[in-house]
Symmetry: C2
Subunit: 138 residues, 2 copies
C-alpha cells in the first residue's frame, strides 16, 4: 500500500498529534486514490487490507481528520457525502447520471471579493457544487 506520498501523510498526521497508524494511512491512501469517496465505499475498500477493521474506526478517523482539515467533507445534493484529501480551494462538478465528481479550479476570486465587500461578510470557505450531465453521459 505504500506509495511516495505515505511519508508525507505520516508527517502530516504527526503534525496534528495524531498517531500514524496503518489504518489511518490506509484511509488517507484510499481517499487519495479515489479522489472522492463515501463512507461505505471506503469501508469496503479498506476491508481488503484490514479485514477486521471496524466501521467505528472509520468514523472516528474521518471525524478527527476532517476536524484537522486533513480531509474535507463534500456534501452532495441527493446523495451521501464524499471525502477528499484537502487540496487548495476548488469547486466540484458532479454528474447526476454516473455520479462522478471532478475537481474544478475556478477563478471566482473577484466575484467573492465583490460579495465580501457588498455584504460586509468575511468569507472563510466556499462550497460550490455544479450538478448536471458530464461529457461522457451526454
Amino acid at each position: 500500500m505504500y506509495n511516495s506520498k505515505m511519508n508525507t501523510y505520516m508527517e502530516t498526521l504527526r503534525q496534528y498529534n495524531l498517531k500514524a497508524t496503518p489504518q489511518r494511512l490506509a484511509i488517507i491512501d484510499i481517499v487519495n486514490k479515489h479522489g472522492h469517496i463515501n463512507i461505505d465505499t471506503l469501508y469496503e475498500e479498506i476491508k481488503k487490507q484490514f479485514n477486521s477493521i471496524s466501521l467505528a474506526t472509520i468514523y472516528k478517523n474521518i471525524n478527527t481528520m476532517t476536524e484537522n482539515q486533513l480531509l474535507l467533507e463534500v456534501k452532495l445534493p441527493n446523495s451521501k457525502s464524499v471525502y477528499e484529501v484537502t487540496k487548495s480551494r476548488h469547486a466540484h462538478l458532479r454528474c447526476e447520471l454516473c455520479g462522478d465528481v471532478q475537481d474544478l479550479t475556478i477563478d471566482s476570486n473577484s466575484l467573492f471579493v465583490d460579495i465580501s465587500n457588498k455584504y460586509d461578510f468575511k468569507i472563510n470557505n466556499t462550497d460550490v457544487i455544479l450538478s448536471g450531465i458530464c461529457k461522457d453521459c451526454q
Copy 2:
C-alpha cells in the same frame, strides 16, 4: 396562520396532486417565514399549531415537497440541512458564528457558461454556500 400567500400555496400543492392539508400549509408557511429552517426547529414550531403532529408527517411531507421542488434542501457544512421555499436560483451566505443563512443573488452566469463550455458539462443545478463571518458578528 393564514397569510396572503396561503392561497398560492394551496394552488401550488394541487398542481402537484398533493392535497392541501393544514399540516402541509403550516409547513410551507413556517419554512417561508423562517427563510431557512432545519427539521428540528420546524418540528418545534409546527407543534405550536398542531400539538399532536408526528415527526413522520414532517419527514414525509418534506420529502414529497422537496421531490416536487416546492421546497429546496440546502446542505450546510458542519450542520444539519435547512429547507427553503424554492425561489429563483441563488447562493447562500452562512455565518459560522450565529448560524444565520441569507440568500444571495450572484451574477455567475457567465462564469458557469464558461465552465459548461470548457468541460463540456451541462449544468442543471448549482449549490453555492459561502461560509464566514457576517456583518453583525464581526
